[in-house]
């Protein structure tokens, strides 16, 4: 398992922009379950930051601590430089939280919900009404605005929930598994919405258990397992940490296979594998050596019909990093 000691230094050096989230050794213990066990997170302003992990890895608990909903048992966290424990009320003015479970009033209509949240955030009656209308329009909920929420679909509820988080135009938005349980179409809509938010200058910290979601949306990803960050980086970096890319060659003539294998052995110093006679794969540690290999192949007059590089998928990253199932510890 890869434990990134250099994660922190890398991240701080990399960005000169102020940090939206700065969490060091964050800790939360429920009974004898260390739900969050020393999490470090450094989220630069203006990006989508993904926290990826299996169920029970500690994602929601981490978010709840960053959003002042839970007190950390250890470590510290700052939102735009404001400590979550010492200045919770300041932090609350900087964040919007969309939880895993719709945090809206079931008995009220969408409009009523948004108006109440707007009023609580200090808008006057007209401003709150106008803001509610604008948000409902943006999230395609205008038609359903007067219906009680009990008649809403899961996707509509999520959208309303997100709309409610945006009333105060917070610079940092927490999205806890924003698309869990949504159908593929609604999921794509949610992704578009999230991307638009970042364009307007928000920073987004989202948790997900879907690799493709993290891959699609996040500029950086922290992989969490058993309450610890086990890897951190851009999706590309994470993929390379898992292992090398694979070089794939398809030969024009099957009879060249033995010869080609020899040349690969010489150029790359690795033993190639033949999937089928004319199709050869080899682990690719040093991309620069490929140039030599291709020249050598040309020199031996071996013709290729296909050259490709297969990068590891995030699925492989995930499996390698979180090899042990999260349920092992009895985490919930």
């Amino acid at each position: 398992m890869i434990v990134p000691n250099s994660v922190k230094e890398n991240m701080i050096k990399q960005e000169n922009t102020p940090l939206a989230v700065e969490a060091t050794q964050l800790m939360k213990v429920f009974g004898d379950n260390r739900a969050v066990d020393g999490v470090d997170l450094y989220v630069p302003t203006g990006m989508i930051y993904g926290v990826l992990g299996p169920n029970g890895a500690g994602k929601t608990t981490t978010i709840n601590m960053l959003a002042t909903l839970l007190r950390p048992d250890g470590g510290s966290a700052k939102i735009f430089g404001h400590d979550v424990e010492k200045e919770p009320q300041v932090v609350r003015q900087l964040i919007g939280v969309t939880g895993q479970y719709a945090s809206v009033d079931e008995t009220l209509s969408a409009t009523e919900n948004l108006i109440i949240f707007g009023r609580l955030l200090g808008l006057n009656r007209n401003e709150a009404r106008r803001k509610a209308a604008v948000l409902l329009d943006e999230f395609g909920l205008t038609e359903a605005a007067k219906r009680p929420l009990s008649k809403f679909s899961g996707g509509m509820r999520r959208r309303l929930d997100l709309a409610a988080s945006l009333i105060a135009q917070p610079p940092l938005i927490f999205l806890d598994e924003p698309t869990t349980g949504l159908d593929p179409r609604t999921r794509t809509q949610m992704w578009d919405t999230i991307r638009r938010l970042v364009k307007n200058g928000s920073t987004i910290l989202l948790t997900t258990q879907y690799l493709d979601e993290a891959d699609q949306l996040a500029d950086r990803i922290a992989v969490i397992d058993h309450g610890k960050v086990v890897a951190e980086g851009t999706p590309g970096e994470l993929k390379t940490t898992v292992g090398n890319a694979t070089l794939q060659l398809r030969l024009a003539n099957t009879k060249d296979a033995t010869n080609a294998a020899k040349i690969i052995q010489n150029s790359l110093g690795v033993t190639p594998q033949s999937v089928e006679a004319a199709f050869i794969t080899a682990p690719m540690a040093d991309p620069d050596a490929i140039t030599d290999l291709l020249i050598a192949l040309r020199g031996a007059n071996i013709q290729l019909t296909e050259v490709s590089v297969q990068k590891p998928t995030l699925d492989e990253v995930f499996l390698t990093l979180t090899g042990n199932p999260a349920v092992e510890k009895g985490a919930k």
Partner: protein, 271 residues
């Protein structure tokens, strides 16, 4: 999205406390929310609508002959008693609903908003005064329909209602406390009724005190509910603000002084 760019987090000037104006405004919005919910769920009003009707009819016809010789003579005694019993019973709902509310997802959002921490609690307590008002009006109306004509007229009934509403608000802090510390809504209900029944029945609300054994009389006489009942009877039947009126207010304030800090403290710990 709206055109307005989002102001960066580091450029914002923010304060870490909420002032009194914001607290009042937040509480008011929360109370508005409570009333909206009431309108959406009218069955929540069953207790304040049917209880005054049923109890007034039931108790008056059952006890009327036995205690006052006839129903008509019993009305000036029983109507203040029923009024208080009904309205105080209604205040139990404050705690039950607070518990239900705190268990819901929306409460998490309230906790993540930069609002006065106390406002969901204060708003709920505020909104419930509307329920007390409905119960008061209905009790007096039922009584009126049965022939109840208090000598001090509407003014006496109005002032009595205000006193009862104010006192119930004080008592609702007790139930809010149970609402905050209990795990489930049904346990709030259970504990609250254990407080409620002795408090309302071990009083002079339904029967003359002199028929009770001595030790019970002692309790009944210090029970703030008895003073409230006396105060309302004096107000409605004689148009007098007696010393029971003031004792009631003092009693209510003592309850608030005891339970408000406790409730708020426990509430803040959880909220």
């Amino acid at each position: 999205m709206e055109d307005a760019k989002i102001i960066p987090g580091v450029e914002r000037q923010l304060k870490n406390h909420t002032n009194l104006r914001v607290t009042l405004s937040n509480s008011w919005t929360m109370a508005y929310r409570g009333l909206l919910k009431l309108r959406r769920n009218p069955e929540q009003l069953f207790d304040v609508t049917f209880q005054p009707l049923i109890f007034t009819l039931m108790f008056t016809y059952i006890f009327g002959g036995a205690i006052a010789g006839n129903v008509h003579n019993y009305l000036p005694i029983i109507i203040p008693g029923i009024l208080i019993q009904t309205v105080i019973t209604t205040s139990v709902v404050t705690g039950v609903q607070l518990r239900e509310d705190m268990d819901k997802g929306v409460f998490n959002r309230f906790r993540s908003l930069p609002i006065a921490r106390i406002s969901p609690l204060s708003g709920a307590l505020l909104a419930d005064m509307v329920r007390y008002a409905i119960a008061s009006v209905l009790t007096f109306s039922t009584g009126y329909a049965m022939g109840y004509r208090p000598s001090s007229g509407v003014a006496g009934m109005l002032l009595s209602s205000l006193l009862v509403i104010a006192f119930s608000w004080c008592v609702s802090w007790i139930f809010a406390f149970f609402g905050v510390i209990s795990r489930t809504a049904s346990s709030v209900q259970g504990t609250s009724l254990m407080i409620l029944f002795p408090l309302t029945f071990l009083s002079n609300a339904f029967v003359p005190t002199n028929t009770l054994p001595g030790w019970l009389q002692t309790f009944v006489n210090i029970n703030p509910i008895s003073h409230l009942v006396n105060a309302v009877r004096q107000l409605t039947n004689h148009g007098v603000i007696g010393h029971d009126f003031w004792l009631t207010l003092v009693g209510g304030l003592i309850i608030v002084a005891l339970f408000a800090p406790l409730t708020v403290r426990m509430y803040m710990r959880k909220a």
